[in-house]
Amino acid sequence: MGPLVPFIISNEFNLIIALIAGIGFGFVLEQAGFSSTKKLVGLFYGYDFTVLKVFFTAGVTAMIGVLLLAQWGLLDLSLIYINPTFLWSALLGGAIMGVGFIIGGFCPGTSICAASIGKLDGLAFVLGGGLGVIVFAEGYPLVKNIYLSEAWGGVLMNEMLGMSKITFAFLLTTVALIAFYLTGLLENRVNGIPTAVNKKKKIIYASSIGFAFVVLAVIAFFPDSKNRMEARINKNVVQKDFTSASVPADKLASEIVNNYYQINIIDVRDTAAFRVYHLPFAINIPYAKMADRQWEKILDQKHKINYFYADDQQVAAKAYLLAGYLGSAENYILSGSAINFRKLFSNLTSPGAEANKSEIDTYNFRQKAATDMKMLVNALKNSSEPVIAKTTKIKGGC
């Protein structure tokens, strides 16, 4: 599941990715004609709206793509970089950039493109940009208050408007189309020549618009991969027989005593219940969080056997099924609940004199296992503390 960095692609190789992404970025910007300042400022004087067309099409395409990848379960939206909102600095900074745009005729990306193909004004703009950065760095104490005020964090547009992501996507796509149409009219008026749109072009435009809305509709009306998985689990948990996947408490206890280093004991209850009591060496992965990136190393590996338990047998079974979808580890369920396990291995009362041999054996076994587990937990205290894995939030932005 994406993003691939840093889990699948290392941070070092990421720099090569940056180079490749940059080549694509620079190529398209230049092909769009953005190395020409006349084309860029045309936006502000109404004679050329190429910037708006390219910019809006790119934004809408990427936005729909991000939603589609998320729906397919290919991209984890909780990990991608969201530009944080600092209200005043965003507005004031944007306003200053607008002035720079109309005086200089470029923005940073396009000036670099222009400089790359030998435009001296582009190069001058890049140098000016460096100058502006120095001025900002030197004058930082003066603007610090504005720079840091109204920090809202990574809020999203749809949250601000109180709508779902997909509704906002519909809205923005529609706004883009209206803008394309109206600016087209304006362009014709300012230039005094209507641009002829031939039949072939009309068909291509219409089908592209149709395609965009079909994709949006698919995202809106089909259940996403998470819901599909949930539905499958709910169906299987009733239908499937878990006998072969279930392990009795005694067996698990003996695994803990003898093979603790070859097994993961996974508590899928919530953190509060985990804190009150958990099995020796247990890791807490609440059921709702099992799909999180940080647990991939536990759920998708071939070295250790995973044992799932909860208070409710059905929850443990669901966790078992989910683990099967999420990874290729060998999984089992503990029969009975956490409470049951606790009962069996603490405060043991010795069987009476009339007990038969098997009862005495069981008692002896549990007694020994309980002591051994306690000893092991104490001996391995440091290494058996549940490891808190951190999910790295990706850094980005300019």
Partner: protein, 166 residues
């Protein structure tokens, strides 16, 4: 290239970048990285006394050669140059409005660049990093930055029309 096709391709580049790296594209950050690292190299004592540069170099101990955006911008230069070559647009040139001299154009470009450089630091990103990449992930901050950039461009267009129009 047809602007909508270019936009679609740009959107795919951006989408691919987000899918692989979890972050969008940028430009001004690379300028910042190079400039501030140069200040650190040339005047380390001064850099240590300037809070903004100090916190920047603490956050980026590896310098510009390990900065994602610097690599990306090196790619931009290669990609744009390649595009220029195949479209026959490479060559030393200066583009300006019909009523101004080359000198005015260069000065205006430097001043405009300086405004943009300053604004992009204050606004935490430029048209690429804040506006375009922000739109793709529906960031509120990115979108208001975009509105501010283009809104202010329109607001000031009339005052600077002599730079561009007949």
């Amino acid at each position: 290239m047809n602007p909508y096709l270019a936009g679609f391709l740009l959107g795919l580049v951006l989408l691919g970048t987000i899918y692989v790296t979890g972050r969008g594209l940028g430009a001004s950050g690379a300028v910042k990285s190079v400039v501030l690292s140069t200040v650190v190299k040339v005047a380390p004592g001064h850099a240590a006394n300037t809070p903004f540069i100090k916190s920047y170099s603490e956050e980026h101990p590896d310098g510009p050669l390990k900065d994602w955006l610097v690599f990306e911008v090196i790619g931009v230069i290669i990609g744009a140059f390649f595009s220029g070559v195949i479209s026959n647009r490479v060559g030393i040139k200066l583009e300006r409005g019909p009523n101004i001299t080359n000198r005015t154009r260069i000065i205006a470009a430097i001043i405009g660049g300086a405004f943009f450089g300053f604004g992009s630091q204050l606004g935490r990103g430029c048209t690429s990093g804040a506006a375009l990449s922000g739109m793709a992930v529906m960031s509120f901050g990115g979108l208001i930055t975009m509105v501010a950039i283009f809104g202010s461009g329109y607001a000031f267009a009339w005052f600077f029309r002599k730079l561009w129009l007949k």
